[in-house]
């Protein structure tokens, strides 16, 4: 089992979510985060003081899936989230040992 973590533009969240639904992804968790990467943010003045706004809002979408679904999911995310401009974000894939559905106690692949 793998966790796919995609950090994307907030404006793309709706499209990615819908697409993943169509791809058969049953569950996902979304967090509103801020981040920096290539995209550098901007400077602003508040009452005459310059300051840097270098953490930009991003949506972090996490979904745990079976190993063989990973590639399809990654491709789907890229298809929807890509604009080609700096700031499109990243996808990380990391191992998950087990998953449990709290409602039923089911474990493993059937729980995700």
């Amino acid at each position: 089992m793998k966790k796919i973590t995609a950090i994307i533009r907030p404006a793309k969240l709706e499209a990615v979510k819908e697409r993943l639904g169509r791809e058969g992804v049953k569950g996902m968790t979304v967090t509103h985060v801020t981040g920096c990467g290539m995209q550098k943010g901007s400077t602003a003045f508040y009452r005459g003081n310059l300051y840097e706004v270098n953490l930009l809002p991003k949506a972090k979408l996490e979904t745990v899936a079976a190993d063989d679904a990973v590639d399809r999911i990654v491709d789907a995310i890229i298809a929807e989230a890509k604009t080609g401009e700096i700031g499109d974000g990243k996808i990380f894939i990391s191992p998950v040992d087990d998953a449990i559905r709290i409602r039923t106690g089911e474990r493993g692949a059937s729980a995700v």
């Binding site: 907030p10 404006a11 509103h32 901007s42 400077t43 602003a44 003045f45 508040y46 706004v53 930009l56 809002p57």
Partner: protein, 410 residues
């Protein structure tokens, strides 16, 4: 002397209440739009009042209330100077100037909500200056400054048409020229919901507007000795109440649940609708007019969005434009003296309709030119990436809610 003092106090207090409506507009508009543009909305509302106060004093008041040139435009009294004896006021001209200034600012500020979330700040400033200094004073002169429309017997007691429709039609043109917000319509032209960010703030704004309207309508007697101020206050209140109740009911029937933001709009629709006839109709009349406005505003919101495909985030066109026109025409039906339903025949109704059309024509044509000129010179709309990131960052380098974690930019 005492009479003058009473009238002066009345007019000033009414002007203060109308001034406070600026806060109401700012809160309604900010609350109904997204957090990333809240600072920009505030700034537009503050600036159209500030610039407007200066320009109306310098120019607008003279064009509106100066000695008439053929019933078309006033021509004396720039910078508050000159004589205004032709107005036959008992109160000091300064009191009248203040009262008219806050009215002018009301007309101007209506537009900011309809053009919210995508207009360049500098462009909005230019619009705001031109409408307050020239466009509004001209129609104002027609109806209230000794111009041709007033002479015909047009009744627009406190400005359903002269103030609210002026703002509403300008808002319509502005929003149309500007185009919808990114993401407002999907690829098939179906509108998406873009929820406002702070409904408690909008509700506060509506309460403030309702409060201020007690200056707007009763104050328009320009006299505290005129006991019809009590009648006016009651018709104002009843119409607002009926507007809110009907909008609630209609939204409940149409969408399955009573919609908060449309009900808030309904109260405002009732207020706008009664403004023309507040002194001329009975209590019953005011309830009917308000109720009609409450229904109409929802249909108008849908029509503007779903049929015209014009994006007006706060419903300014429906509330001020449509319900302002509607309320003005209703006077022709419900005026206890001269209205069709009270045996007055069609004459008044005709004049009312003429006034509505003439004002609409003037406003739509002049503001169309204005917005087009702005568009091809300084530009009317911010860039797509600025719109996405929010105008607070883009236009003002700030963030209205710095300590809160947001779901959206910034």
């Amino acid at each position: 002397m005492i009479e003058v003092a009473i009238d002066t106090i009345w007019v000033l207090l009414a002007a203060f209440l109308v001034f406070f409506m600026q806060a109401g507009f700012a809160m309604v508009e900010a609350g109904f739009t997204r957090a990333k543009n809240a600072g920009n909305i505030i700034m537009k509302n503050l600036m159209d009042f500030a610039c407007g106060s200066l320009l109306y004093w310098a120019v607008g008041f003279a064009l509106m209330f100066g000695v008439t040139r053929g019933g078309i435009i006033g021509s004396s009294g720039f910078f508050g100077g000159g004589l205004f004896e032709h107005l036959e006021l008992d109160i000091p001209i300064a009191a009248f100037l203040l009262f008219q200034t806050v009215f002018a600012a009301t007309a101007a500020t209506i537009v900011s909500g309809a053009m919210a979330e995508r207009t360049k700040f500098i462009s909005y400033l230019i619009y705001s200056i031109v409408i307050t200094a020239v466009i509004y004073p001209v129609v104002g002169h027609w109806a209230w400054g000794g111009g041709w429309l007033g002479k015909l017997g047009f009744i627009d007691f406190a400005g359903s048409t002269i103030v609210h429709s002026v703002g509403g039609w300008a808002a319509l043109v502005g929003a149309a020229v500007l185009g919808p917000r990114l993401g407002k319509f999907n690829s098939e032209g179906k509108p998406n919901a873009i929820p406002g960010h702070n409904i408690t703030l909008s509700a506060l704004g509506v309460f403030i507007l309702w409060f201020g309207w007690f200056g707007f309508n009763p104050g328009s007697t320009i006299s505290g000795l005129n006991l019809s101020i009590a009648h006016i206050a009651v018709t104002t209140n009843l119409s607002a109440a009926a507007g809110a109740v009907l909008a609630m009911i209609v939204s409940w029937l149409r969408y399955g649940k009573p919609d908060v933001s449309l009900t808030l709009n309904g109260a405002l629709a009732g207020l706008v609708g009664i403004t023309a006839g507040t002194a001329a109709v009975s209590f019953f009349g005011s309830v009917v007019i308000g109720a009609g406005a409450g229904v109409l505003v929802i249909l108008a919101v849908e029509f503007i969005e779903k049929v015209l495909h014009i994006d007006d985030p706060v419903g300014a066109v429906a509330v001020h434009g449509v319900c302002g026109a509607y309320g003005t025409v209703m006077v022709g039906l419900f005026a206890t003296d001269g209205g069709l339903f009270y045996g007055g025949g069609m004459a008044l109704l005709g004049v009312q309709a003429l006034g509505v059309l003439a004002v609409a024509a003037w406003i739509m044509s002049t503001t169309f030119i204005l917005f087009k000129v702005i568009q091809v010179t300084v530009g009317l709309r911010v860039s797509a990436s600025e719109e996405e990131g929010g105008l607070d960052t883009g236009e003002h380098g700030m963030n209205a809610y710095a300590d809160f974690a947001m779901r959206t930019a910034p």
